[in-house]
């Protein structure tokens, strides 16, 4: 997806975004009598409409528009541009379809009115076309390619609202837009929001009560600090990182065999929990093996780039497969750390950003000097057991030599070998070769079989230079990425943290900070956070603390009609965002509400109850069967669920989780009937409804139904139900009790193998289960308010 295969004939036909920008640029230029800028205003039009037929590949009508000299020279019908005279310029005639010749571009939509006017204005203003060096220099000045400077915190009228600099930036914008910020959300909403955001779990009722009762001025800060230091913090924040890292427990493709790399997942959780500085976090994952006296953990961290897929088909060309893996690593590295679409330069020079094709291969070379072993991580106890097994195998083999028909020994050996395999703990790592420097072959038009010159590892020339302690190898690359001069890394990563909390980045195209991405809605805020991030020694927790402490974050998420009209996407942050929880959080918060959630951390992946696969045609020949886990492993945090790439856990897929086959920056947030069916009917989630019904019955003292219903509602949403809501619940409950009293076999089926608490009869338990099932399906339960 990050590359288009062979030909450099890239032709975006319709580019709404640049059009929008263009329109804006035009209005600025026209309204203020400003000058049309070739690079900003004209070049994108040429690129998107002309180059595919009149560029380096084809020169229809002997015309070439990608070079100043040739464009002015014109084609077979003569000069295209008459400087200073748009009315008599052939270019203008052709794009408007004047005269007998067909309108240009022939195969695509006509240019927009604004584009035509821009071109006319450009020609009339003298058709200024800078030389290519100046064009590159100008592209380099793209905001994201310039190192962020600490901006001054703006002055605002409503200073009382401001809790920290973040608010000043947000409020300054709101005041310009004449939009007031929203009031602070109530405390119950705030603690639920904070808990879901920071640890991925809803607060317990006791935690809510304590926070609501705590009138100390520092109550909020104390809560934030408690959550930031919770061990669940890492489990929650590992989720987006593992999507980026494309972490999974199988190889992908046809065979999709299991692999062991869960130690990497645990490493991420631990690193996040101890707030490992982001620069170190980066260096260890890209090149931990190359650090002096690399510790075992630092080697485990390099699993980041071992999360690539492996095609185990018999006919695979191993070197080509390795090559594809490296392409993935280039793409992933550039996307994750720099929001760059470097992958676009695989087949040709980047069309919009100043990446040269050669630089793509120079970047790839960083990864072309590594072996890819599995690291053994057996504990001493395991080693002792393994020794014993090996000894037994050896003994059996000796007996087998004497009697080759001894099937008993044969079977035993096979069983022991399986046992040995299961017992061994390994993890996939990168290991730099001892000899040689990384270099690789250029590929003409990006084709694997079409080799060009040999290139050495290097970073793109238009970005900051590598320093003396950043050699041309993987470690040097890692250090270069987190160099203080890198204009992208800090911005890209604070934007992503912001996006996780607000559902939308300050740069909406969080995967693309290049010239085709959208500019930030709050550029100064982004730069303030980026510089703050670096200044606070790349502490992710410190940055998150800044954000969640702000008044901006604490706003209510209620949407007024005015907001819906004036700021439908909440671009200006006049309210807190409100969105459906992500897949893992939905399951985890349901398990928390039902009281089933296990707090056990780390270890091999688990297999929670999933839809029956027996007899169902699967999508591949994966040998993995879903042997549903026993005991508390059925109810572990979702981050520990076995991730099978070609067929991930059903509930995750339904709720927009990715397959982890490739690096994903942001997931969709869809809202579909399949989600409704899943949440209503999944056996595991229905079992949670039974467990919740059990809590409703057992944890309340009053015999009346109201108390039980209110308790269930609070466990799901954190708040007390309103009077009108209580009425609906009570009516529904009564109806169900009546129904199940006269349909006892149904009540028995609903109960299943659960043991209802003694406080309720079987029909009451069934009725409570149905209400609990509804409560777990409420929009509010599934949303972060």
């Amino acid at each position: 997806m990050w590359r288009h295969k062979k030909s450099p004939l890239y032709r975006p036909l319709f580019n709404s975004l640049s059009l929008a920008l263009l329109t804006l640029a035009f209005h600025l230029a026209a309204l203020h009598g400003g000058e049309v800028d070739f690079v900003r205003d004209i070049l994108p039009i040429f690129k998107s409409t002309c180059f595919s037929c009149h560029g380096p590949e084809k020169q229809k009508g002997e015309l070439r528009m990608d070079s100043k000299e040739l464009a002015f020279k014109g084609g077979s019908t003569g000069a295209m541009i008459k400087i200073g005279d748009s009315k008599n310029s052939l270019l203008m005639h052709r794009i408007q379809g004047l005269g007998d010749e067909p309108r240009m571009p022939v195969k695509a939509d006509a240019l927009k009115k604004e584009q035509i006017e821009l071109l006319a204005a450009w020609i009339d203003q003298g058709a200024k076309w800078p030389d290519s060096a100046s064009i590159t220099a100008q592209l380099k000045k793209h905001w994201a390619y310039t190192k962020p400077l600490r901006p001054e915190v703006p002055k605002v009228r409503n200073g009382a609202w401001v809790r920290n600099p973040i608010d000043a930036f947000v409020l300054a914008k709101l005041e310009t837009e004449n939009l007031p910020p929203s009031a602070e959300a109530d405390k119950t909403t705030l603690i639920r929001r904070l808990s879901l955001d920071l640890i991925g779990l809803p607060p317990t009722l006791r935690e809510i009560d304590a926070f609501v009762a705590d009138t100390h001025p520092n109550a909020y800060d104390t809560l934030v600090d408690r959550l930031l230091s919770s061990p669940h913090f890492g489990e929650r924040w590992a989720r987006p990182w593992l999507d980026l890292a494309r972490y999974a427990d199988t190889n992908g493709f046809n065979f999709d065999s299991p692999r062991q790399i869960w130690k990497f997942r645990d490493w991420v959780i631990q690193a996040l929990n101890k707030d490992m500085p982001f620069d170190q976090f980066t260096i260890e994952q890209i090149a931990g093996d190359m650090l002096p006296d690399a510790a075992q953990d630092q080697k485990i961290a390099t699993g980041f780039h071992r999360n690539t897929m492996v095609n185990e088909e018999g006919g695979v060309d191993k070197m080509e497969a390795r090559w594809e893996t490296m392409l993935d690593r280039v793409h992933t590295t550039a996307t994750v750390w720099m929001g760059s679409t470097l992958g676009c330069a695989q087949c040709h020079n980047h069309k919009f950003d100043p990446f040269r094709q050669k630089e793509f291969y120079q970047f790839l070379a960083f990864f072309d000097n590594s072996d890819e072993p599995a690291l053994k991580l057996n504990t001493p106890e395991i080693e002792v057991k393994l020794k014993a097994i090996s000894a037994e195998i050896k003994a059996l083999e000796t007996t087998l030599k004497a009697d080759k028909t001894d099937t008993k020994s044969k079977d035993r050996i096979a069983a022991l070998k399986d046992q040995r395999k299961e017992m061994e703990i390994t993890t996939l790592v990168m290991q730099e070769r001892k000899t040689g420097m990384p270099e690789t072959d250029f590929r003409i038009k990006g084709s694997y079989v079409n080799k060009g010159e040999r290139v050495s590892a290097d970073t793109p020339a238009f970005l900051h230079a590598r320093k003396s302690d950043q050699p041309a190898n993987r470690l040097g690359l890692a250090k270069w990425i987190v160099d203080a001069d890198n204009p992208l890394t800090a911005r890209v990563n604070v934007n992503r943290l912001w996006e996780t909390l607000f559902g939308r980045g300050l740069v909406v195209t969080s995967e693309d900070f290049g010239t085709q991405g959208t500019p930030p809605t709050h550029p100064e805020l982004l730069d303030w956070m980026a510089t703050e991030f670096v200044a606070s020694k790349w502490s992710m927790k410190t940055l998150l603390r800044h954000i969640v402490i702000s008044a901006t974050y604490r706003q209510s998420s209620k949407i007024s009609r005015e907001m819906l009209q004036r700021d439908p996407n909440n671009k200006f942050l006049s309210r807190a965002p409100r969105y459906r929880l992500e897949a893992e959080l939905i399951r985890d918060s349901i398990l928390a509400a039902s009281g089933q959630l296990s707090e056990k951390m780390f270890g091999p992946p688990v297999f929670p109850p999933a839809p029956e696969q027996k007899g169902v045609i699967t999508t591949n020949k994966s040998a993995v069967s879903w042997n549903t886990s026993k005991g508390e492993d059925r109810f572990r945090r979702s981050v520990y669920t076995f991730w099978r790439r070609t067929n991930p856990f059903a509930t995750f897929v339904t709720f927009d989780a990715t397959s982890r086959e490739f690096c994903t920056v942001k997931r969709s947030k869809s809202n579909t009937p399949l989600q409704a069916l899943n949440a209503l009917n999944d056996a595991g989630l229905f079992d949670a409804a039974r467990a919740l019904a059990g809590r409703m019955a057992a944890e309340t003292t009053s015999a009346a139904a109201d108390g039980k219903l209110a308790h269930g509602f609070r466990l799901c949403t954190g708040r007390h139900p309103g009077k009108d809501e209580m009425e609906l619940f009570a009516q529904a409950f009564e109806k169900e009790v009546t129904y199940f009293k006269s349909n006892e076999p149904m009540a028995k089926s609903i109960k299943g193998s659960a043991t209802p608490p003694k406080q309720v009869t079987e029909p009451e338990f069934a009725a409570l289960t149905m209400v609990a099932n509804a409560m777990l399906n409420l929009d509010e339960t599934m949303s972060r308010e």
């Binding site: 997806m1 590359r3 288009h4 295969k5 062979k6 004939l9 890239y10 036909l13 319709f14 580019n15 709404s16 695509a108 493709f253 046809n254 095609n311 088909e313 006919g315 695979v316 594809e324 679409t341 950003d353 195209t509 995967e511 085709q516 209620k558 949407i559 819906l564 439908p568 409100r578 969105y579 007899g615 169902v616 790439r645 070609t646 067929n647 339904t654 490739f662 869809s670 809202n671 399949l674 409704a676 069916l677 899943n678 209503l680 009917n681 999944d682 529904a732 109806k735 076999p745 149904m746 009540a747 089926s749 609903i750 299943g752 149905m770 209400v771 509804a774 399906n777 929009d779 308010e785």
Partner: protein, 489 residues
């Protein structure tokens, strides 16, 4: 309610924006009724969903010839030289070394050294008015050749199953691009409001298959990914209520959910809550429509005879019948995968005289029945049927490890596919292979060209159906693809 197709559809990613955009239509009316405390009726909820539903039908670029597609994906790659592309010269030189210059510099998945040419062990006859040759392995299909357009000159870039299947579906061998069905439902929506718009049906062996990635929505919103029906139990996961929950009980619990959600909609003012209400109502409708759809037992006897179906059995034939029922109910894109065509000759079960005929028996009658049935219902005119694998097979015997069984290796350079219905010229053949069937001799059709043609038949310009991602307008055909005019009626 028809939405023009623009690259702005990124906005589907968060439906809020879409809602806001259509906010002056039904959406706002229903919303304001809700916010004034009036309860949403089921009908209003349905209208609400249509207003925000990314699967709502959308206008095509120009008048379409085909409105829906049934794609019979023969996974594992059937042998063109044993089914549709007879090569007398191959018979003549059977057992001789292939000329060295022909395979110079070529990479094969398994063949090592200089392989020997292998004439087909099967016989061919010409059929229909068009006189298209079909082997004795595909007798039913032979009867419908006048409705079929053969492409004898398909070629692809990939020679391993996984990457080639991904390529065939997404136009790229690396996982991450949207599949054809996703592109089409993204561009056109679906006519069905209570069934998925893009359905995948599986049969045959497990191997080989690239898994869900074949029907992935890639970087398009996940709403557009294919829904793989399950071959046992509920076809759509979770469509059945848990034990003890009757349809009436479920209705009552949905009423409760709706009641509380409506209050919450009024409290939050978030249109997304309205979408959730509508989604739950549609889920309830699906609980009725899916079992009705899957109940093929109700089909008359002559239909079962035509297809060779046995209700309740997992088979390609059953899936063909199900596919017809799906498109009758408005589904946009049904893709069937029948797997096991990978006949390398490494064993008898995987050879050309035992393995290949078995796969043909499993598919031939149902393929022909589907086309016939669509035709007799007047559906063939605007339904496109596509048949084919991810690549072809070598005109040479593979002889892996000296195997005595006949088999062929992967061959991306030339293979056959066919299409029928929806704007395709029946009784025609496009392209030719050389005398040995090794290379294309005339009118090469690349996978990108096939994609361009399929989109064209559906009324979509493959250069205009785009989605902006990471700064680039992506297409199914990437930067390639030409509509194959010779295929069009």
């Amino acid at each position: 309610m028809k939405q023009p197709v623009t690259s702005e559809n990124l906005k589907h990613v968060t439906r809020r924006h879409f809602f806001a955009k259509t906010g002056f239509g039904i959406g706002t009316l229903a919303l304001s009724a809700l916010m004034n405390g009036k309860f949403l009726s089921q009908a209003a909820a349905a209208a609400e969903l249509d207003a925000v539903n990314p699967m709502a039908p959308k206008a095509s670029h120009y008048a379409p010839k085909a409105k829906r597609i049934i794609y019979l994906f023969m996974a594992g790659a059937p042998s063109q030289v044993d089914l549709f592309d007879p090569k007398p010269k191959l018979q003549e030189f059977n057992g001789q070394d292939i000329p060295a210059e022909l395979i110079k510099g070529q990479r094969f998945a398994f063949i090592k050294g200089t392989p020997k040419l292998l004439g087909s062990p099967h016989t061919f006859k010409q059929h229909g008015q068009c006189g298209a040759p079909v082997s004795n392995l595909y007798p039913h299909t032979a009867k419908i050749v006048d409705d079929i357009a053969f492409v004898k000159s398909m070629h692809t870039d990939q020679f391993n199953h996984g990457p080639a299947q991904i390529f065939m579906n997404t136009g790229n061998q690396i996982i991450g691009r949207p599949s054809m069905g996703s592109w089409l439902t993204y561009g056109l929506g679906s006519e069905s409001s209570d069934l998925p718009g893009f359905v995948v049906l599986l049969s045959g062996e497990v191997d080989p298959g690239a898994g869900n990635a074949c029907w992935s929505s890639g970087f398009l919103p996940t709403t557009y990914q294919g829904v793989a029906f399950r071959s046992q139990g509920d076809p759509v996961l979770y469509v059945s209520n848990p034990d003890g929950v009757s349809s009436e009980t479920r209705r009552r619990s949905l009423d409760l959910i709706r009641g509380i959600n409506q209050k919450h909609l009024a409290a939050t003012g978030d249109p997304e809550v309205a979408t959730r209400i509508a989604s739950y109502e549609m889920a309830y409708r699906m609980q009725k429509s899916v079992p009705e759809l899957a109940d093929t037992a109700k089909e008359p006897e002559h239909i079962h005879k035509l297809y060779g179906t046995e209700p309740g059995k997992i088979s390609f034939a059953n899936n063909c019948l199900l596919a017809r029922r799906l498109i009758e109910r408005g589904c946009r894109f049904v893709q069937l995968y029948h797997r096991g065509w990978d006949h390398h000759g490494e064993s008898q079960a995987k050879d050309l005289t035992t393995g290949l005929p078995k796969l043909c028996r499993e598919t031939d009658q149902a393929c022909a029945a589907l086309v016939t049935d669509l035709k007799q219902r007047g559906l063939l005119d605007d339904t496109l049927v596509i048949w084919g694998g991810e690549f072809g097979r070598t005109p040479m015997n593979e002889g892996r490890d000296g195997s005595k069984f006949l088999g062929r290796d992967h061959h991306p350079r030339a293979y056959t596919m066919w299409m029928a219905g929806g704007g395709v010229k029946g009784g025609t053949t496009v392209g030719k292979t050389d005398e040995l069937g090794y290379d294309i001799a005339e009118d090469p059709v690349h996978v990108h060209d096939l994609h361009a043609t399929v989109l064209h038949l559906m009324g979509m310009d493959h250069e205009k159906l785009t989605f902006k991602f990471q700064g680039r307008d992506y297409r199914l055909t990437d930067v390639h693809g030409h509509v194959v005019k010779k295929l069009l009626a």
